[in-house]
Point group: D2
Chain length 136, copies 4
C-alpha cells in the first residue's frame, strides 16, 4: 500500500463548539485542506483548475465515522490516500489522527464538475497525475 | 410514515465558496440547525441538556449524498425524520431540498455523551420524547 | 430616525466555541445575514447583483464592540440601519441584541466592487433604493 | 519597534465565498490563529488557561480595514504585535499580508474573562509574559 499523504494541523477556537470539542462539520474542512495540499504537491491547484480548465473537483459522497473528539489546541494529522480514479471521479480515504490514533475517518467520492454545474470528464493530464497517487 | 419536521433556511455568502456553490461541510450545519429546532419544538434544548443533565448528543456517524449544489440566495428546506432510538443513541435521515427536490441527503447517528467525554445512556424522559418522534 | 430593520436569529452549536460563547468572528456572519435580508426586502439580491450587474457590495471597514457574549440557544436580533450612501459606498450600524439589550455593535462601510476586483460606482437604481433606506 | 510574530497560512475553499474572495469574517479566524501561535511560542495555551486558570482572553473590540481581497490558494502571512498590556486587557495590531503587502489590518483589544463570564485580572505570570511581547 502506498504511503499516505500527511497533513498536520492545529485545533483553534474557531473549530470548537460549546461542547468543548471540535464541531462535527469542521473535520470536513480539515479533510479538504489535506486534499488541497496533497494535490498542490503534485502541481494541482484548485484555483488554476477553475481559471484554466473551467472545472472543479466537487464532493459527491462522504461517509464520516467519529471515534473520539478532538479538543482545543490538539495537534492533529490528516492521512490521505486516493483509492480509485475513474473517468470523471475519484475516491479517497482520510484518517484524522491525534497522538497517532484515528479519531475521525472520512471516505469520500469527488466528481469533476464544469463551472456551469454540469458533470465533466477529468482532463487527461489531471487524471494521469491522480492515477500516480492511487495506492498500489 | 410520520410527517418530517421541516426547517426553512436561506443561503448566505458565509455558506458559499469560490466555486459559487454551498461549501460541502456547511450542509452539516444546516442539518444540525434543523435537528436543534425539531428538538426545541418538543421541549429539548442542547444548552439545558448540557447544564442540567451534563450530556450532549454528539454525532457518531454521518453519510452525505450530494446530488445538486445550492447557490447564494437559494431558499432551502431541511426535512428531518428520526428513524430509530436506542438506549444510548438515535438515528435520523435529513433531506435538504431546493424547489421541492432533494439536493443533499444526510443519514446520521447520534450518541449520548457525558460532558466528561464518556458514552452515556439517554435519560428516560429524553428517550421517551425522542421515541414519540420516531416515524411509525 | 428611521426604524431599523430587525432580523431574528438563533444561536446554534456551529456558532459557539470551547469558551461556551459565540465565536467573535461569527457575529459578522449574523450582521451579513441581516444586511442581506434588509436588501432582499427592497428587491436587492446579492446573486442578482453578481449575475446581472457584475458587482458585489464588499466590506471595506468594520468596527466591532463586544459588550456581552451570546450563548448556545440564545434568541438574538440584529437591528440594522444604513446611515450614509455615497457614489460608490455605503455605511451602516448594526446592533445585535439579546433580551432587548445590545450585546455586540458593528459599524460597517461597504464599497461597490466590480467582479474584476476593481472599485465601481453604485448603479443608479441600486443607489436610489439604498437612499430610501437611509435614516432621516 | 520589536519584531512582529509571523504566522503563515494558506487560503482554502472553506475560507472563500461566491464572490471568489475570502469571506470578510474569516480574516478574524486567521488573526486568532496567529495570536494563538504567538502565545503558544511563549508557553501560553488557551486550553490550559481555561482548565488551570479558569480564564479566557476574549475579544472586546476589533477594527478591521480591508484593503485588498485574498483569493483561493493565496499564501498569506499574519504579522502580529502586542502594543499594550494592562491589568485586565491587552491590545494588538495584526497585519495580514499577501506578497509582502498589507491586505487586511486588524486592531484588537482583548480582555481577561473568568469562565463565569465576569471580567478578571490577568494572572501575574501571564501578564509578565505578555509584557515581554510588547513592542518597545
Amino acid at each position: 500500500m502506498s504511503k499516505a499523504h500527511v497533513f498536520p494541523l492545529r485545533v483553534y477556537y474557531e473549530d470548537t463548539d460549546a461542547g468543548g470539542i471540535v464541531y462535527y462539520a469542521n473535520y470536513l474542512k480539515y479533510a479538504e485542506r489535506a486534499r488541497s495540499e496533497m494535490l498542490r504537491e503534485v502541481g494541482i491547484e484548485s484555483s488554476r483548475l477553475m481559471d484554466e480548465d473551467n472545472i472543479a473537483l466537487t464532493v459527491r459522497k462522504c461517509a464520516v465515522d467519529y471515534h473520539k473528539p478532538a479538543r482545543l489546541d490538539d495537534a492533529l494529522e490528516v492521512h490521505t490516500r486516493i483509492t480509485q480514479v475513474g473517468g470523471a471521479s475519484l475516491q479517497g480515504a482520510q484518517h484524522i489522527k491525534c497522538d497517532g490514533k484515528d479519531i475521525v475517518v472520512v471516505h469520500i467520492k469527488l466528481a469533476c464538475m464544469a463551472m456551469t454545474g454540469k458533470p465533466a470528464r477529468l482532463p487527461e493530464g489531471l487524471r494521469a497525475t491522480l492515477d500516480q497517487l492511487v495506492e498500489k
